[in-house]
C-alpha cells in the first residue's frame, strides 16, 4: 500500500503547478484550467484522507467539489464568452477595466 | 463568379461560409455565399456561371432547326419542355398551323416530362432533408418515363423530338399502351410518396413555416411556376395563356396560400397528379392524322416521299443545307415548364439563323427568391429552400 504522505505530496505538487500556471499564464481560459487543476489537487488530498481515515466523508467532499466546479465552469465560461464579445481578446492583461 | 460578401462596416466579424459549387445539396454547381451568425443565415448571395456554355451565342450561329438540340441541354431534366418552347416560338414567327395529332403528342410528352422532372425534384429535395429512400423510389419511377422517351425519340434524355412544324418521327406502334401502364400505375405510387412524407412529423417540422415568401414578394422577384403557386398566386400559363391546345384539356391548377417549403412541396405533388390526368386525356383522345404541318419549305418531308418525289428531295436539300427564312420580326413565346415560365425571345432578321435568341430560364428568376427565403433561417433550412425552388443549373447558366 502506498503511504498517505505520497498522495499528499502528489497533491501538493499538483497544487503548486496549478498555482504557478495561475500566476504566469496570460490566457484567461488557461488560467481557468489552472484553477481546475488546483481543485483537483485538493480533491486528491480529500480522497487520500478519506481512505486513510476509513470513512466516506472525504469522498462526499470531493463530490461536492465536483458539483461546485461544474457550476463555476458554467458561469466562468459564460463570463469569458461575454468578455470576448465586448473586448475581442482573451489576454487577462487587457481585461483590466471594470466597465465592459 | 467568385463573388464574396463585403463586410458591412461597423459590424462584428461574422463567419462567411462558401456553400458549393461542390456541395451535395446545391443541385449541381450552384454556389452560395452565406454570412452566418452561429448557424443562422444573415445574408446570402448566389454565385452562378460554373456551367455557362454560351447557348445564346451558339443559337446565333446555327439554323433554326439545329438550335433544337441545344435546348435539350439547358434544362436537362425537362428537355421536351425546352424543345416545345423553342419550336413554338419559331412556329409563332412563321405562323405555322400544327396538326392535332402532333399537338396532342406534344402535350402528352411534355406532361410526362413534367412528371419526370418533378420526380427528380422530389427525390433530391427529400434527400436534402435526409429522407434518402425517396430518392431511389423516384428514380425508379422516372426510369419508366425515360423509357417512353427512348421509345419515341431514341434518346432517354437529350430527346430533340419536337421539330418546327410537328414531331421528328411518327411515334412507334404500341407506345400508347406503355403510356397507359404508367398512367394506371402512377397515382398509386404518388400515394406511396405521400405516405412517406406528407404527414411525417419530421418532414412537417422541417418544411412548414420554412422559407416563407409572400405572394407580393414572389411576384416582385419574378418567381414563377410551382414556386409562385405555392405562395397562393393562381398563375399557370397553360390556363391563362394556353398554347399547344392546352385549352382543350381539363385539369386543375393546384395552389397553396402558405408560401413555405411545404406548400411548394404540396403543389408539386398535386401537379404530378394533374399532369397524369392530362396525359390520360391526351392518350385517350389522341387524334389520327399527320404529325407534321403542311409546309414543305419548312418541314422536312418524310423519307418515303423524299425518295420518290423530286420536289420533296429539293425541299429536303434546301432545308438541310440552308434552312428556312422566317419573316423579319420578333416574338416572345412562354410556356409553363416544370419550373415555371420558360420564355423564348426570338428575333429574326430574315436569315435562316436567329438574329438573337434569348431564353428566359425559370430557375434563373426563381433563384432570386432564395435570398428572401433564407434570410434569418438556419443552414439546414437553406438546404430545404434550395430544394424547394427546384433549380437546374444547366438552365440558369445556359
Amino acid at each position: 500500500m502506498v503511504p498517505l504522505s505520497h498522495y499528499i505530496a502528489l497533491s501538493a505538487i499538483l497544487f503548486v503547478i496549478g498555482a504557478a500556471g495561475f500566476i504566469f499564464r496570460r490566457n484567461i481560459i488557461t488560467v481557468f484550467m489552472c484553477i481546475e487543476l488546483m481543485l483537483n489537487a485538493v480533491n486528491l488530498a480529500f480522497m487520500a484522507f478519506s481512505r486513510f481515515r476509513g470513512n466516506l466523508d472525504g469522498q462526499l467532499f470531493v463530490f461536492f467539489v465536483i458539483v461546485v466546479a461544474a457550476a463555476e465552469a458554467a458561469v466562468g465560461l459564460a463570463l469569458i464568452i461575454s468578455l470576448y464579445r465586448s473586448r475581442d481578446t482573451l489576454a487577462i492583461d487587457e481585461l483590466d477595466s471594470m466597465k465592459l | 463568379m467568385a463573388v464574396t460578401l463585403e463586410k458591412i462596416p461597423g459590424q462584428e466579424e461574422r463567419v462567411i461560409l462558401s456553400m458549393g459549387p461542390q456541395h451535395p445539396s446545391t443541385h449541381g454547381v450552384l454556389r452560395l455565399v452565406l454570412e452566418l451568425d452561429g448557424e443562422t443565415v444573415i445574408r446570402s448571395l448566389f454565385d452562378i456561371g460554373y456551367l455557362h456554355t454560351g447557348f445564346e451565342k451558339s443559337f446565333e450561329d446555327k439554323t433554326y432547326s439545329q438550335g433544337i438540340t441545344l435546348t435539350d441541354r439547358m434544362d436537362y431534366l425537362a428537355p421536351l419542355s425546352n424543345n416545345l418552347a423553342y419550336c413554338l416560338a419559331i412556329e409563332k414567327l412563321l405562323e405555322l398551323e400544327i396538326p392535332p395529332k402532333a399537338q396532342w403528342a406534344r402535350v402528352l410528352l411534355t406532361e410526362l416530362t413534367r412528371v419526370g422532372s418533378h420526380l427528380v425534384w422530389l427525390g433530391t429535395h427529400a434527400i436534402d432533408i435526409g429522407a434518402m429512400s425517396m430518392f431511389l423510389y423516384c428514380f425508379r419511377e422516372r426510369e419508366e418515363i425515360l423509357r417512353i422517351f427512348e421509345m419515341v425519340s431514341g434518346q432517354r434524355m437529350m430527346t430533340s423530338y419536337f421539330r418546327v412544324g410537328g414531331l421528328a418521327l411518327e411515334p412507334p406502334l404500341g407506345w400508347l399502351d406503355r403510356v397507359k401502364k404508367i398512367v394506371d400505375r402512377f397515382p398509386e405510387r404518388v400515394d406511396e410518396y405521400e405516405a412517406l412524407l406528407t404527414k411525417n412529423p419530421i418532414w412537417l417540422r422541417r418544411t412548414q413555416g420554412v422559407g416563407t415568401i409572400s405572394a407580393e414578394d414572389a411576384i416582385a422577384v419574378g418567381l414563377s411556376g410551382p414556386s409562385l403557386r405555392g405562395s397562393g398566386v393562381d398563375w399557370d400559363l397553360r390556363k391563362k395563356q394556353p398554347y399547344s391546345s392546352y385549352d382543350k384539356f381539363n385539369f386543375n391548377v393546384p395552389t397553396r396560400p402558405e408560401g413555405d417549403v411545404y406548400a411548394r412541396y404540396l403543389v408539386r405533388v398535386a401537379e404530378i397528379r394533374e399532369s397524369l390526368k392530362i396525359v390520360r386525356q391526351a392518350m385517350e383522345g389522341m387524334p389520327e392524322g399527320p404529325i407534321k404541318a403542311n409546309a414543305p419549305h419548312i418541314v422536312l418531308p418524310d423519307r418515303e416521299s423524299m425518295k420518290t418525289s423530286i420536289e420533296a428531295l429539293i425541299y429536303h436539300f434546301k432545308i438541310v443545307t440552308e434552312g428556312f427564312h422566317p419573316p423579319v420580326g420578333e416574338v416572345y413565346q412562354a410556356i409553363e415548364s416544370p419550373r415555371g415560365e420558360l420564355g423564348i425571345y426570338m428575333v429574326s432578321d430574315g436569315s435562316p439563323k436567329p438574329f438573337r435568341c434569348h431564353v428566359r430560364a425559370p430557375s434563373f428568376a426563381n433563384l432570386q427568391g432564395l435570398a428572401k427565403m433564407m434570410e434569418g433561417r438556419l443552414i439546414a433550412d437553406a438546404v430545404a429552400c434550395i430544394g424547394s425552388i427546384d433549380v437546374v443549373l444547366g438552365e440558369i447558366d445556359r
Binding site: - | 451535395p24 427529400a126 434527400i127 438556419l378 439546414a380
Partner: protein, 354 residues
C-alpha cells in the same frame, strides 16, 4: 510475488476473452456495414453489394482493404497531432465499452466459474457512460483540428447534441436501476430472470424490464440514436448540409476509424438496451450442457440484432431533424419525460417496498 497456477489460468482466460471479444466485434462491425448496405438497398428496391463473394459477403473485406491502401490525404494547416488523435480516440473509446458488457451466463472450466464477460465492475453501467461521455472529444477535436468550416460546424453541433442527449440517456435508465438495485450489468440481467406473476398467476411474459419501463426504454432508445449520430439525428454528419460534418477532411484509414467507431457505438447501445430492458441473454434454454452455454449467447446476439435492424430501418425511412428542433426535442420533451419516469418509478418502488 509468485503467480499461482490459478492466477495464471485466470489471466490466460482473461486474455482469451479480450482477444475473442475484439475479433468477434470487429467482424461484427464489418458485417453490420454489409447488413446495413444490403437492408437499405432492399428497402430502396436495389440490390446492394453483390459482386464480391456470394451475396456480396466479401464486400466488408474489400472495403477494409480499400480503406487501408487509399492515399491518406492530410489537408494543409491542420493541427497534426489532434487531427491524428481524434480518430484513434474515437475508435479506442468505442472498443473500451465492451469491457464490461456481459454476453452470456457462465460455465465451469477446470473448477473455475468463467463468466462470459471481460470484467464485471460493480459500477459497470457508469463505466460505460463515462467512456461514452469521452467520445465527444473525438468528434469535437476532429472538427476543430481540420481547420475547415464544415467540420467545425459539425464538431460544434455534435458536442452540443451529445452533451444534451447524454442527460436523457443517463436518466432514462435510472428507472431500471431502481428496480434492480445495482449498477452491475450482470446483476441487472439476473434480476430479469423468470416470468411475470400477476395477481398470483403466471403470465408467461418474460420478467423483462421493458414491461415495467416502456417509457424509459423509448426515451433511452431515442437518446441512444442521437448519441450515435444516426438518422434522424445525424446532424453532425448531415451530408447534405455539412458535406460530411466532422469527418469531411478525413480520408483513408482515419476515416475508416470514425466509421468503425460509429458502428461499434451502435452495437454498444443495442447491447445496453438488450441488457437493461430485454433481459440480456435470457431466453428458452434446452438440450445438452454445451447448448446451455451457447444458447444464451445466441439469444443475446439475436436481441442485439433486432435493435441494429431497427437502426437501419429508421435510416431507410426517416428524414433528418433540424439542429434547433433537435435541441428543443432533447431538452423540452425527452428530458422532462425521463424525469417524470424516474419520479413515477420511485413512487411505485417505494410503495411496493412498504
Amino acid at each position: 510475488m509468485a503467480l499461482s497456477s490459478d492466477t495464471l489460468f485466470l489471466l490466460g482466460v482473461a486474455v482469451v476473452k479480450v482477444v475473442v471479444v475484439l475479433l468477434v466485434l470487429l467482424t461484427a462491425i464489418a458485417y453490420i456495414v454489409w447488413l446495413e448496405r444490403k437492408l437499405v438497398a432492399h428497402i430502396q428496391s436495389r440490390w446492394g453489394p453483390y459482386r464480391v463473394g456470394p451475396y456480396g459477403l466479401m464486400q466488408p473485406m474489400a472495403d477494409g482493404l480499400k480503406f487501408l491502401f487509399k492515399e491518406d490525404i492530410v489537408p494543409l494547416e491542420v493541427d497534426r497531432f489532434v487531427y491524428w488523435l481524434a480518430p484513434f480516440l474515437s475508435f479506442t473509446l468505442a472498443m473500451l465499452t465492451f469491457a464490461v458488457i456481459p454476453f452470456g451466463g457462465s460455465f465451469k472450466l477446470f473448477g473455475h466459474e468463467i463468466y462470459l464477460q471481460i470484467a464485471d465492475l460493480n459500477v459497470g453501467l457508469l463505466y460505460i457512460f463515462a467512456v461514452t461521455s469521452l467520445g465527444v472529444y473525438s468528434i469535437a477535436l476532429a472538427g476543430w483540428s481540420s481547420n475547415s468550416k464544415y467540420p467545425l460546424f459539425g464538431g460544434l453541433r455534435s458536442s452540443a447534441q451529445m452533451i444534451s442527449y447524454e442527460l436523457s440517456l443517463g436518466l432514462a435508465v435510472v428507472g431500471t436501476l431502481m428496480i434492480s438495485g445495482s449498477l452491475s450489468l450482470r446483476d441487472i440481467v439476473n434480476s430479469q430472470t423468470g416470468t411475470w406473476h400477476l395477481a398470483g398467476t403466471n403470465t408467461f411474459l418474460p420478467h423483462w424490464n421493458i414491461f415495467v419501463q416502456p417509457v424509459g426504454f423509448i426515451v433511452y432508445f431515442i437518446a441512444a440514436i442521437a448519441e450515435t449520430n444516426r438518422i434522424p439525428f445525424d446532424l453532425p454528419e448531415g451530408e447534405t448540409e455539412l458535406v460530411g460534418g466532422y469527418h469531411t477532411e478525413y480520408s483513408s484509414f482515419k476515416f475508416a476509424m470514425f466509421f468503425m467507431a460509429e458502428y461499434a457505438n451502435m452495437v454498444t447501445v443495442s447491447c445496453i438496451a438488450t441488457l437493461l430492458f430485454f433481459g440480456g441473454w435470457h431466453g428458452p434454454v434446452f438440450g445438452p450442457a454445451w447448448l446451455h452455454v451457447l444458447l444464451p449467447v445466441f439469444w443475446f446476439a439475436l436481441k442485439v440484432f433486432c435493435f441494429l435492424f431497427f437502426y437501419i430501418w429508421t435510416r431507410g425511412t426517416l428524414p433528418r431533424f433540424r439542429y434547433d428542433q433537435l435541441m428543443a426535442f432533447g431538452w423540452k420533451f425527452l428530458l422532462p419525460v425521463a424525469l417524470l419516469n424516474i419520479l413515477a418509478t420511485s413512487f411505485v418502488v417505494a410503495w411496493i417496498g412498504t
